[in-house]
């Protein structure tokens, strides 16, 4: 298997068995056969084809018993239906009665997407639940805030985790919005949407009837892929952050390493956050693939769009499923190093409090002037490697208004976490207000 998501050696780190199974070629064939069988069943109920024909088609429409060697490259569906017709004997003439092959193929694709949707929503649900618990637990634990990779006012670990939870929740809500539009199956435009056969088949397969028949409208399928891109953005951000905070110099968070962990063939000490790195790589590919979904919308008469989707949808779903599975594993057992967080906040010898110092001086100097005074003091502190408090005490202007004891009291991390705990609570409240219908989207295959 030369594609990395199916590689004999790496498929486990580039995909999940569960999502690969959704796009298994035999399952795809079965989904086409299911569509044809559902069509026959409905047509028999409506008296359009003989009852016996529907029964025969239902029995024979089985990928396990059909001779799949008859499937021909370039026309897989046509050759499959030919093979089915052959084994159905007299009833074969009623296989795919009155529909185009595109109808069957697109319906099958939608059944795959529905299974994939269920898996992705479930993983978002589990991830968000874990994040909410962790955010609540650590909402008071201060750590360095970072802006442009430089220290800014402290945040709390709970605040960081709540930011992940909030984005994950929004992506869940986006999937709910998408759900309204996604699960229609296509028909070639010749069939009236009020047609009893179409309605019956969609009911049989648990899909919705589109407002207008079309084999060219691919916007809902592109929207599905864009939503994967947004989910990948949120998951990729989590992976990237854990990777960055696991650097040797910072070492504030780390992904769990198993007992058999090997970090390097050459450097035995290595503790790589490699699973997180894979998460980021996978998410970037998913994001890049979204352009293909939108390009498919432009294909005239939908001719080539199916081919683009055949690449991008399975690849994106399998990669994203792995990224999400890894993220769930990492978060379930995340290593948190509180001592290092505390140590790192002191890296700039008090400059992490520059904003607080500025507002401490503002009532006496004015805010913009205080900004310039603290800016100069910090520059000097950097140059001379002196704690900023000492620089201010030495400064001819500032020394007249600062009081050492007041500065000591001010420079306490726990006093400068702003509204982190309250914002964590707001994120939790938002999630609680929206989780009531999560269960409706959790079941794979439900529409």
């Amino acid at each position: 298997m030369s594609h990395i998501i199916d590689s004999e050696f790496y498929k486990r780190v580039m995909g999940t068995e569960e999502m690969r199974a959704v796009f298994d070629p035999r399952k795809q064939i079965q989904s086409w056969l299911d569509t044809v069988a559902a069509l026959a069943k409905v047509q028999a109920e409506l008296g359009i084809i003989p009852e016996q024909a529907a029964t025969t088609i239902a029995t024979k429409a089985n990928a396990e018993t059909l001779d799949l060697s008859k499937i021909v490259v370039g026309e897989p569906l046509s050759s499959l239906l030919r093979a089915l017709r052959e084994v159905c004997g007299e009833s074969g003439q009623y296989v795919g009665h009155g529909v185009t092959e595109r109808d069957v193929e697109d319906t099958g694709t939608m059944l795959e997407i529905r299974d994939a949707f269920g898996i992705i929503f479930r993983d978002l649900y589990i991830t968000e639940k874990t994040l909410r618990q962790l955010a609540g637990k650590h909402k008071m634990m201060p750590m360095a805030g970072r802006s442009h990779n430089q220290h800014g006012p402290p945040v709390t670990l709970g605040f960081k985790l709540a930011g992940w939870a909030a984005e994950t929740r929004r992506n869940m809500e986006r999937m709910k919005d998408l759900h309204k539009r996604l699960f229609v199956s296509l028909n070639d435009g010749e069939t009236d949407p009020s047609d009893a056969v179409l309605k019956g088949v969609m009911a049989e397969l648990n899909l919705n009837v589109p407002v207008v028949g079309s084999n060219s409208a691919r916007d809902h399928i592109a929207e599905f892929q864009n939503t994967l891109g947004l989910v990948a953005g949120g998951i990729g951000r989590i992976g990237n952050e854990i990777y960055q905070l696991s650097r040797s110099e910072l070492f504030e968070l780390h992904e769990p390493l198993g007992p058999d962990y090997v970090g390097s063939s050459a450097m035995p000490h290595k503790r790589n956050a490699e699973v997180s790195e894979f998460v980021v790589a996978q998410c970037r590919i998913v994001q890049q693939n979204t352009a293909l979904g939108m390009q498919a919308m432009l294909c005239e008469q939908g001719r080539d769009s199916v081919l683009l989707d055949r690449h991008s949808i399975p690849e994106s779903c399998v990669l994203l499923a792995r990224a999400m599975e890894s993220t769930k594993d990492i978060l379930a057992d995340l290593d948190i190093f509180e001592d290092n967080m505390r140590r790192n906040m002191g890296a700039l010898d008090g400059m992490i409090f520059s904003e607080a110092l500025m507002y401490y001086l503002a009532p006496k100097l004015g805010k913009q002037t205080a900004h310039d005074v603290v800016l100069d003091a910090c520059m000097l502190a950097h140059e001379t490697r002196t704690p900023v408090k000492q620089v201010l005490l030495n400064d001819p202007v500032a020394s007249k208004i600062v009081v050492e004891q007041e500065m000591d009291e001010l420079m306490d991390y726990s006093k400068h976490i702003g509204k982190c705990p309250e914002q964590v609570d707001q994120v939790l409240a938002f999630a609680e207000a929206h989780e009531h219908n999560d269960a409706d989207y959790l079941i794979a295959g439900k529409t």
Binding site: G189, C283, M294, A356, G418
Partner: protein, 323 residues
């Protein structure tokens, strides 16, 4: 002007004056000043800054009072995207009012809140034009059975619904201080805790929603906007392609160019998604991509939508003439 969307000869084939204006350099600066002025109004009302200072800030928070040549010189010297304008306003404010500017906020608060305001305006233009598309297609559908108008119409309606869904995610502001914790707002207020009142007051002044958490390092709102633009571009490109075919209707002029604009717009969307993989509480590598793709894509899609509407109107007219 090196870019084709601002090119003196071609800009109107690649964009519309109206959408260019939403994202123009001076409109943007005026918005930043507007956010600062709104902040001052709220803070004066809450007793955090003096009313006199607020009045002066609001009087001077207009580009005409700012020495833009000085701002440009400082932009080069300071390599900061915001402070030079802030200093310009501070210089313009008399009686020490400048000391109460930007009180407890950070650069990104002002800039990102302004982006959300830009997107409100951009969405209003696109949504207005989409309604016109829907109207044109409805009329066209009555006469032109040779065109897949019902199919186009259904897609257009779904885009209108997508835009409605989008608004709850993207019309949020950011007044949350340097690392999103509101630490500056807390510090600026002294012991009196009015941080949430300030933030929510500014949102109210500007017609934005308050977010549940500071989002300086969380960019899914802008990624979502890009997604919606890309999907719309897909439909516009499709309509253009289906009009521009040998067996197609009579007036295909301009359709081909429209499909090109849509291809570029679609290509920009992954940038919006990539920007979401942002580091820590603020990451300019993500944030500055917005300056490219949000404006460029909005302008291209606005033109494509306009062009399609004109094409559809032309088709309709012809049918009426020949009837």
């Amino acid at each position: 002007m090196a870019h084709v969307i601002t090119n003196e000869f071609y800009k109107n084939a690649w964009g519309t004056e109206e959408m260019r204006h939403v994202f123009s350099a001076r409109t943007r600066y005026q918005r930043w000043l507007g956010v600062l002025a709104a902040l001052a109004r709220v803070q004066a009302r809450l007793g955090i800054i003096p009313q006199d200072a607020c009045d002066e800030i609001n009087r001077k928070a207009k580009l005409e009072f700012i020495d833009l040549d000085v701002v440009k010189r400082r932009l080069t010297a300071a390599s900061h995207t915001f402070v030079p304008l802030l200093k310009g306003l501070e210089d313009a404010c008399e009686n020490g009012a400048g000391e109460f500017l930007h009180f407890g906020t950070c650069t990104q608060d002002i800039q990102d809140t302004a982006v959300s305001l830009e997107l409100i305006d951009a969405d209003a233009i696109l949504s207005r034009d989409l309604l016109r598309t829907e109207d044109l297609l409805t009329k066209l559908g009555q006469t032109r059975i040779d065109l897949p108008t019902a199919d186009w119409l259904a897609e257009v309606r779904r885009h209108i619904e997508r835009a409605k869904d989008m608004r709850k995610y993207i019309f949020v502001g950011l007044i949350h201080s340097s690392t999103g914790t509101m630490s500056g707002l807390v510090a600026a207020n002294g012991d009196d805790d009015k941080a949430f009142a300030v933030m929510e007051g500014v949102m109210d002044e500007l017609g934005l929603n308050p977010p549940s958490i500071g989002w300086s390092g969380i960019r899914d709102n802008f990624g979502h906007y890009m997604s919606v633009l890309g999907l719309l571009a897909g439909t516009l490109g499709r309509i253009a392609n289906e009009i521009d075919r040998p067996s197609g209707p009579e007036n295909a002029n301009g359709a081909r160019a429209t499909a090109t604009l849509c291809q570029i717009a679609i290509n920009n969307v992954p940038l919006g998604f990539q920007a979401m993989i942002s580091e820590h509480e603020r990451d300019t590598r993500s944030w500055r991509m917005d300056w490219h793709h949000l404006s460029e894509t909005s302008i291209l899609v606005a033109k494509a939508l306009n062009a399609i509407n004109d094409l559809l109107e032309g088709l309709e007219t012809r049918v009426e003439c020949s009837a």
